[in-house]
C-alpha cells in the first residue's frame, strides 16, 4: 500500500502512519479539504513517516489521507526553462492565474505543446553515456543540448535517433540500449532528484580564469573565478541584494540562475520588471533570455525554501553539462539555514550553536561543492560559479552560517555596516575581504595574459596602500592632525583616492555601474601612478583639499563614457593638477 493517514500535526511537521515502505526524502500528497498538499519525508521511525509539508497545514485533520509518490523531490529538465519564473518546487508561477497563491496548486515547469527544432548530434550505433549530447535545439540564444538522461548508468548504444525536425518535449528522440540489453526511450525531458549532485564529467580542475562582473571591487581587487564560489555576508541594509543584482545584470555568464530564498517579494518583482528591459552588456542580448528565476520569497512556505536552492542548483548542473558558463546566485542562504533550524527544532533534534542543526556545516559545504569548473566527457567545458549571501544575526560574523560558509567559499565579500552607513558602496570591506583565487598560480597566469604582467602585483600594491591608509588614519586619530608627519596625511589620502575611485561604484548610474576590464585596468594604473607620485606639500591642511580635487576629477571620469572627449579632457586637467604639486627634484637644471 502506498497510502497512509495523518496522525500528528505540529505546524508543518506532520506524522503519517503507514505500512508502506517509505523512502527517506520521498514525496507525498496529503488530501486536505479539496487540495492535495505536497510534503517530503524527512525521518522514518517504524511505521511513522515524518513529513515536512511544503504548504500551510491549516485545516488538516488527523486521519487525512496521504499518497506516497515513490520518488524524491525532482526537478524537470528540458528546453523551455530559460526566462521562466518558478517557485521553490519548480512550479511555473506564470501559469498560476490567481492574484493569491492557491494552496495545493502545482503547475508544469515546461510547455508540453511547444515544438522545438531538434538536430541530432549522435549517430545510430554510437556508444554513449549519461550526460552525452544526443542532439540540440535552439532555446533563446543558446544551443540547448538534449542529453542522455543523467539517471542512466554505464555505457549505452544509440539504437535509433530521429532526424532533424520539429518535436514536442515528450516525443521520442532516441532509443538507447544499456549493457544489459534493456532499451530506454529518450525524450527531450528528464527528471533529477534535487538533493543529489549531478556528477557527469571527466574532471573538475581548479578554476583558472576570471568571471568578469564589471564591479571593480570584485574584478580588480578580489576576483571571482569562473567555476568558483564566494559569499557575501553583511548586516541588513548593507547592500547584499543590490550587489547580487548588479552581478546578475553584468556578469559574463551564459546562464544566470537567481534563487530568491526567503527574501522580499518586492526585490524579485524588481528583477521581473527590470530584466526584460535590460541588455546583457557582454553580448547585447536580452538579459531575461538567459535568466531563470526561482522565487521562494519570505512569505512563501518555509519548507520549500530549502528546496529552492537545490532546485536552482540542479538546473545549473543541467546547463553546465551542456558546456555552458552558469552563474548561480542565492539570496539568502541564511534563510535556508533557518528553515532547516525550524524543522530540526520541531523534530526535537539535539540543537547545535544558536539552535541550528548539528550538521549545518556539512550541509552547506556539500552544497557549495556542487559548483565548479568541469571538463565534460566530450572534451568541452562547463562551469557553475556560485555566489550566496549570508544574513548574520545582529550583523555578527561569529555565527554558525557565516562560519560554516567561510570554510568552503573561496571568495569572501564582507559588507561593512560602517561603509554602508557612510554610503561607500558597494560596502565590501576592502581590508577584510579576500579572493583566494588571486593566490592561484593558474589564475595569476590568465590575469597576466589578459591585463599585463604587472597586474597582480599592482592589485596587491593597491591593497597594501589601503591597509596602510587605514593604519595611518588610526594614528592620525590618536595623535592628532598636526602631531603626525606630513606623509601620514599623504598616505591616508592616497588610500582614500583608491577607495573613492576604484572601490566605490554607483550601482544606479548607467555608466559607473559597469566597468569593462580594459577600463578597470586603465583606472587602476592611473590611480596607482598618483600614489607613486611624490608630492611637495608644506602644510598638512593643504593635503586633504588637494586630494579631494583629484578625487573629484577621477569620479567625474567614472561617470563619463570611457575615453570619450570629456573623459580625456578630465584626464588632462588631472595631469596638470598633479604636475603642479609634484616634488620637483628631478627637474633638470636645478
Amino acid at each position: 500500500m502506498e497510502k497512509g493517514k495523518v496522525k500528528n500535526i505540529i505546524s508543518n511537521l506532520v506524522t503519517v502512519e503507514t505500512d508502506y515502505s517509505v523512502a527517506q526524502n520521498e514525496i507525498c500528497f496529503i488530501r486536505t479539504g479539496q487540495s492535495d498538499l505536497m510534503g517530503g519525508v524527512i525521518k522514518v521511525a517504524g511505521n511513522h513517516a515524518f513529513v515536512q509539508v511544503y504548504e500551510s497545514t491549516r485545516g488538516m485533520k488527523a486521519g487525512d489521507e496521504v499518497n506516497f509518490q515513490g520518488h524524491m523531490l525532482e526537478t524537470t529538465l528540458g528546453p523551455g526553462l530559460l526566462s521562466k519564473k518558478f517557485d521553490g518546487l519548480q512550479n511555473d508561477l506564470n501559469k498560476m492565474q490567481n492574484l493569491f497563491l492557491q494552496r495545493g496548486e502545482y503547475t508544469d515547469a515546461l510547455e508540453h505543446e511547444s515544438e522545438w527544432e531538434f538536430s541530432p548530434l549522435a549517430e545510430t550505433g554510437q556508444s554513449i553515456q549519461a550526460g552525452d549530447w544526443l542532439g540540440e535545439v535552439p532555446e533563446k540564444n543558446i544551443s540547448h543540448k538534449i542529453m542522455v538522461p543523467f539517471k542512466l548508468e554505464g555505457m549505452l548504444i544509440v539504437k535509433s535517433i530521429v532526424d532533424k525536425g520539429l518535436y514536442k518535449i515528450t516525443d521520442t528522440v532516441a532509443v538507447l540500449q544499456d549493457f544489459q540489453g534493456t532499451e530506454h526511450i529518450v525524450s527531450m525531458i528528464q527528471k533529477w532528484p534535487v538533493t543529489i549532485p549531478v556528477k557527469i564529467h571527466e574532471e573538475k580542475p581548479r578554476p583558472f580564469q576570471l568571471l568578469h562582473t564589471g564591479i571593480r571591487l570584485i574584478d580588480t581587487m578580489n576576483p571571482l573565478a569562473e567555476g568558483g564560489t564566494g559569499f557575501i555576508p553583511g548586516p541588513f541594509g548593507s547592500g547584499k541584494t543590490v550587489l547580487q543584482h548588479a552581478i546578475a545584470k553584468q556578469a559574463q555568464a551564459d546562464i544566470i540562475l537567481f534563487a530568491a530564498c526567503g527574501e522580499r517579494a518586492n526585490e524579485i518583482v524588481e528583477i521581473f520588471t527590470e530584466f526584460p528591459k535590460l541588455e546583457d552588456p557582454n553580448t547585447g542580448g536580452l538579459l531575461m533570455d538567459k535568466t531563470i528565476i526561482i522565487a521562494n520569497t519570505s512569505n512563501m512556505p518555509v519548507a520549500s525554501r530549502e528546496a529552492s536552492v537545490y532546485t536552482a542548483m540542479t538546473m545549473a548542473e543541467y546547463y553546465r553539462t551542456m558546456g555552458l558558463k552558469v552563474l548561480l546566485l542565492a539570496d539568502s542562504t541564511s534563510r535556508w539555514a533557518q528553515a532547516l533550524r525550524e524543522m530540526s527544532n520541531r523534530l526535537e533534534e539535539l540543537p547545535g550553536t544558536d539552535a541550528f542543526p548539528m550538521d549545518l556545516s556539512a550541509i552547506i559545504s556539500n552544497f557549495y561543492a556542487r559548483a565548479g569548473f568541469v571538463k565534460l566527457h566530450n572534451g568541452k567545458q562547463g562551469s557553475i560559479t556560485f555566489l550566496g549571501t549570508v544574513s548574520p544575526a545582529g550583523g555578527n560574523l561569529k555565527e554558525p552560517v557565516t562560519e560554516a560558509t567561510k570554510k568552503v567559499a573561496r571568495c569572501y565579500y564582507a559588507l561593512s555596516q560602517q561603509r554602508a552607513d557612510s554610503k561607500r558602496y558597494p560596502a565590501i570591506d576592502p581590508v577584510d575581504s579576500y579572493s583566494k583565487y588571486l593566490e592561484y598560480l593558474e589564475v595569476q597566469r590568465t590575469l597576466g595574459a589578459q591585463l599585463g604582467d604587472t597586474w597582480v602585483d599592482t592589485v596587491i600594491e593597491a591593497k597594501d596602500i589601503l591597509l596602510k591608509g587605514r593604519e595611518t588614519y588610526e594614528q592620525i586619530n590618536i595623535l592628532g592632525d598636526d602631531s603626525v608627519p606630513l606623509e601620514y596625511h599623504e598616505k591616508y589620502w592616497k588610500s582614500e583616492l583608491i577607495d573613492f575611485v576604484i572601490l566605490q561604484q554607483d550601482a544606479f548610474d548607467a555608466i559607473d555601474s559597469y566597468t569593462s576590464l580594459e577600463r578597470q585596468r586603465y583606472m587602476l594604473y592611473a590611480v596607482i601612478d598618483v600614489c607613486h607620485t611624490e608630492f611637495n606639500f608644506q602644510l598638512f591642511d593643504e593635503i586633504a583639499p588637494y586630494f579631494k580635487k583629484i578625487i573629484d576629477m577621477f569620479k567625474q571620469m567614472n561617470y563619463i563614457e570611457f575615453q570619450s572627449n570629456a573623459f580625456n579632457q578630465y584626464w588632462k586637467v588631472l595631469e596638470e593638477l598633479i604636475n603642479q604639486k609634484k616634488a620637483k627634484e628631478h627637474e633638470p637644471g636645478i
Binding site: 496522525k7 500528528n8 500535526i9 500551510s56 491549516r58 485545516g59 488538516m60 485533520k61 488527523a62 486521519g63 508561477l93 506564470n94 490567481n98 492574484l99 493569491f100 497563491l101 494552496r103 541588513f236 541594509g237 526567503g262 522580499r264 517579494a265 518586492n266 524579485i268 518583482v269 524588481e270 521581473f272 520588471t273 520569497t297 519570505s298 512569505n299 512563501m300 518555509v302 534563510r335 533557518q338 528553515a339 533550524r341 525550524e342 527544532n345 544558536d354 539552535a355 544574513s391 544575526a393 545582529g394 550583523g395 552607513d421 557612510s422 554610503k423 592628532g480 592632525d481 544606479f508 591642511d541 586633504a544 583639499p545 579631494k548 578625487i551 573629484d552 569620479k555 567625474q556 561617470y559
Partner: protein, 468 residues
C-alpha cells in the same frame, strides 16, 4: 470572527498556563474554539488529542469546562462597513456599534503570487525631510520606525499617516497604552479622518497573547480594501516589539527551543508573513505598512529589530540630536530601500546626488566631532562640516520640518554653497551647473516657508494645517 460554533466537548485532560488538551476527533489544524467562554485556537494535533492555545490564558478553566469547536480558522467579515470602526483582536466592535456586515474571510490568508505583483512606484510625500529627502517612501513598501520607547513615534506615525493621502488607514495597536490609543483616536478625529480609519486594538489592559491576532486582522481588512475596492491602504502596526514578546511567551509556554534573545527560531518567518502583505496590486490598490519596533537603549542588534530589518524595506531611526535639542531621523541608520524607484523620477533629477552628498558631509562632521571630543584641533574644513551639520539637522533632519521636496533640495544646495566649495561636495558637474547657488549671504534662517513647530504642539498643527 464568527460565533457559529459546532462540536462541543467537556473532557479536558491537561491544562498548562496557555493551553488545554482534550480528546476530540475530526478537528482541523488552526481551528478556532471557545474554552469556557474564552477564545482558543488549535495549535497541535496528536492523534485524537487536540491542544488548544487559549488567548486570554487558562486561569480558572476547570477540566470539565465546555469546549466548543467552530470548524474553521479565525476570520473577519470584510466589507465597506468596516470603515470608521474600532475592533478588538477578535474583530469584535469595541465602539458600541453594531457588528458590520460583510463577507467572511479567514485571516492570515495566502500570499500574493510574486508574478502578479507590480513594482511599487508611487512616492508618498510626508513633508518630513528626514523621510522625503533621505528615505523617500513608496506605496506598497513596508518600513518600521526604530525608536527607543521615550521617542514620540506614535505622534510621528500619526502625522505621517495623515499626510500620506491614503484612502484608508488601518491601525493595528498591540499593547498600546490607553493614552496612546486615545491620542490616535483624537488626532484622527480632529483631522476629520475618522471615516477613513479602521482600528484593531489590543491595549495594555488586554491579554498579551491576543495581540498575535492583530496584524492578521488589520491586514485582512487591508487586503479587502486594496484588492476589492482598489484603494491605497496604509497599515500602521504599533508596537511590533510587543507583538514579538507575545510570540516568545507562547513559544516558551509550548516548550520550544528558543533561539537568540529568547525569541522563537521562527521569528523571521513569523514577521515576514506579516510584513510581506505589503504590496502594490496590479489594479491600482496597494498596502503600505508603517510600523513601530521599539528598541531598548537603541540596540538594533537585538533579535527583534535585527529580524525586522532583514524583512522590511528599510527603517526610520529616531534619535534625539543634542546639538539642536530635537528629534531627528538619523541619516546613517535610516534607510528606505525603495527610494530609488521614485527619487529623481517623481522628484527632481538632482535628488539622489544631493541626498548622498549631504549625508557624506554629515558623516565628515561626525568624524570631526570625534576628533574634537578626543581633544584635537579641528581643521578649517572640520569646522565647516560641524557648522553645516548643525544647520542640516535643524533645517532638514528634524522631524518637525514640513516642506515640499523641491524646497528640501533647494535648502540642501543653499547649505552646500554656504559651507563648502564645489569640489568638496562630490556631485556630478551637470547638477552643480544647474543648482549651485553662489550667494551664501542669502541666509536661510529668514525663510518663512520653513515650518518648525515643536513636537509638543503637533496636535495643534493638525488642527490648523493638516486637515486635508
Amino acid at each position: 470572527m464568527s460565533l457559529a460554533f459546532k462540536k462541543i466537548y467537556t473532557n479536558i485532560s491537561h491544562i498548562t498556563k496557555a493551553t488545554c488538551t482534550l480528546k476530540a476527533t475530526g478537528i482541523s489544524n488552526e481551528e478556532l474554539a471557545m474554552v469556557d467562554g474564552k477564545y482558543a485556537q488549535v495549535v497541535k494535533i496528536m492523534g485524537n488529542k487536540v491542544t488548544l492555545q487559549v488567548f486570554e490564558g487558562t486561569e480558572g478553566i476547570p477540566k470539565n469546562a465546555e469546549v466548543i469547536f467552530s470548524g474553521k480558522a479565525p476570520s473577519l467579515k470584510v466589507g465597506r462597513e468596516l470603515a470608521g470602526r474600532f475592533f478588538n483582536a477578535y474583530g469584535i466592535p469595541i465602539d458600541g456599534k453594531h457588528i458590520p456586515d460583510g463577507t467572511e474571510v479567514e485571516i492570515g490568508g495566502p500570499s500574493v503570487n510574486p508574478v502578479r505583483r507590480r513594482q511599487p512606484a508611487e512616492f508618498i510625500a510626508t513633508g518630513i525631510a528626514g523621510i522625503d529627502l533621505n528615505n523617500a517612501l513608496v506605496t506598497g513598501q513596508k518600513i518600521p520606525f526604530f525608536a527607543d520607547s521615550d521617542q514620540p513615534y506614535n505622534q510621528i506615525m500619526a502625522m505621517v499617516a495623515l499626510r500620506a493621502q491614503a484612502d484608508k488607514i488601518i491601525l493595528g495597536g498591540m499593547g498600546l497604552t490607553n493614552d496612546d490609543y486615545l491620542y490616535y483616536r483624537n488626532v484622527f478625529d480632529n483631522a476629520g479622518a475618522l471615516t477613513r480609519i479602521i482600528s484593531f486594538i489590543n491595549t495594555t489592559e488586554d491579554p498579551a497573547v491576543e495581540r498575535l491576532l492583530i496584524p492578521d486582522m488589520a491586514l485582512t481588512a487591508a487586503e479587502y480594501f486594496a484588492v476589492q475596492e482598489k484603494e491605497k491602504v496604509l497599515v500602521l502596526l504599533t508596537d511590533m516589539t510587543l507583538y514579538c514578546d507575545a510570540l516568545s511567551i507562547v513559544s516558551n509556554r509550548m516548550d520550544q527551543i528558543p533561539s537568540r534573545d529568547s525569541m522563537p527560531g521562527s521569528l523571521y518567518s513569523d514577521l515576514a508573513r506579516i510584513y510581506e502583505k505589503a504590496a502594490q496590486f496590479p489594479d491600482g490598490g496597494s498596502i503600505t505598512i508603517i510600523s513601530v519596533t521599539s528598541l531598548s537603549g537603541g540596540d538594533i542588534t537585538h533579535s527583534i529589530p535585527d529580524n525586522t530589518g532583514y524583512i522590511t524595506e528599510g527603517q526610520l531611526f529616531l534619535r534625539r540630536d543634542t546639538d539642536i535639542g530635537k528629534v531627528i531621523i538619523d541619516p546613517f541608520r535610516s534607510l528606505s530601500r525603495l527610494k530609488q524607484l521614485v527619487i529623481g523620477k517623481q522628484t527632481r533629477g538632482d535628488h539622489a546626488q544631493v541626498m548622498n552628498a549631504a549625508v557624506r558631509l554629515y558623516a565628515d562632521a561626525m568624524n570631526a566631532r570625534t576628533k574634537m571630543e578626543n581633544g584635537f584641533d579641528l581643521t578649517e574644513y572640520d569646522q565647516r562640516t560641524l557648522d553645516f551639520a548643525k544647520e542640516y539637522a535643524r533645517l532638514l533632519l528634524a522631524v518637525d520640518v514640513n516642506i515640499q521636496v523641491e524646497r528640501m533640495l533647494d535648502t540642501a544646495w543653499e547649505l552646500f554653497a554656504r559651507y563648502f566649495k564645489k569640489e568638496e561636495i562630490g556631485i556630478k558637474q551637470q547638477w552643480i551647473e544647474t543648482y549651485w547657488k553662489e550667494q551664501p549671504e542669502n541666509r536661510i534662517e529668514t525663510n518663512q516657508e520653513l515650518n518648525h513647530e515643536h513636537l509638543g504642539r503637533i496636535n495643534i498643527s493638525f488642527r490648523n494645517k493638516e486637515v486635508e
